[in-house]
Point group: C2
Chain length 218, copies 2
């Protein structure tokens, strides 16, 4: 059964692969599962029909027959549990990989979301520069700790896992800020993620959606 995911009809990141459907597309490509995409306008995301699938009116959702899931982390974990390729077979290694999934989303991503708040909602405020500096320092603290743990390893704990998939996805959100380049091993780690064939296929597919939306403009 081919699952269906939802994605932005016109992503606010202009096809840079930072919207959360990218995490699910990447996981689907890693496990070799074909899928369909239903595109949503910003208005449609807030309608009752979509809120029935996603209580917070966001993308992505994941439909597989009667099963409806939301939260990209949960969808990636579901795919990793149903297919080989994203979690180790060994139970202890598997639990550790899941620790990294939660670390990406609950420890590393929050200050990065805060940076987006500052950049997009506080740029015209009197406190913009000061808050920007505070938030960047909070991100540096996490990146420094992550860089220390990664060391010269390719991935966070043995082979590439769903933990790396989510961590790379989160780190990509600070790539243009220059912060990632302060930690060369993290920049190389992210580049390794981006070089994976599954990532490249997923990236091309989400970019094609944005380009189609652009082409439809008059």
């Amino acid at each position: 059964m081919k699952p269906i995911i939802t994605a932005f009809e016109r992503s606010p990141d202009r096809g840079r692969g930072l919207a959360r459907d990218m995490r699910v597309r990447w996981a689907l490509e890693e496990v070799g599962q074909r899928y369909d995409v239903r595109l949503l306008s910003f208005a449609a995301m807030k309608e009752p029909a979509h809120r029935a699938l996603h209580p917070f009116g966001q993308i992505p959702t994941y439909e597989e027959g009667d099963l409806v899931l939301f939260e990209s982390g949960a969808i990636v974990l579901h795919l990793a549990e149903c297919h080989a390729g994203l979690l180790p077979d060994d139970a202890a290694a598997r639990a550790r990989a899941i620790s990294w999934m939660f670390a990406a989303l609950n420890t590393v991503e929050p200050p990065i979301l805060d940076l987006q708040t500052v950049l997009f909602l506080e740029r015209d405020k009197s406190w913009y520069e000061q808050r920007l500096a505070m938030v960047k320092d909070a991100i540096r603290k996490r990146l420094g700790e992550l860089s220390h743990r990664l060391g010269d390893a390719d991935w966070l704990d043995g082979a590439f896992s769903a933990g790396d998939l989510l961590m790379v996805s989160v780190l990509l959100r600070v790539k243009t800020s220059g912060l990632l380049d302060e930690y060369p091993n993290l920049a190389a780690y992210v580049a390794r993620g981006e070089a994976r064939p599954a990532y490249r296929r997923a990236f091309a597919d989400q970019l094609a959606v944005f380009n189609a939306a652009l082409a439809g403009e008059s």
Copy 2:
């Protein structure tokens, strides 16, 4: 084998049950698993010995023989997978409960963490009042959506699950702000969580740690 978790020797919340070891204690009580606690000073948390267990130098960690986990969400999920009582048996219901775990930590908690940043790090800033209002509105947006989805149900999706355990734990962090009382069904939901015998045992145990630290003062 009795697992060992780590917790603050002296919790900054003064025993109000908001530190993240509480989530793990509650899960352990729900599944009836006895455990030991190793208490850490703030200095010890940043030492290499603890960072080897937790790359971000935080609590809680979870040790079960050779297995070491960090991230309270991952630890709760591990407990839910190894014991009955925190996830439904049905595969689809189980995947949906895990969606709520991620929703608690990656969608509802980030603006709540932001409120803590404003309250503790920005109270003396010129922008304090304005930022406080912005952050409270961001939290209200999420609470309104959650309140709408919960409706008059007892729990988020059928029986109490690890998704409820984490969501109640996250919502408890805004209880004293008064925001929760703007959504009576959410306030009642949190009260249902707090009334569970497992929650009460876990709460008493973490409070006893704080009271012992107080008693040790001269």
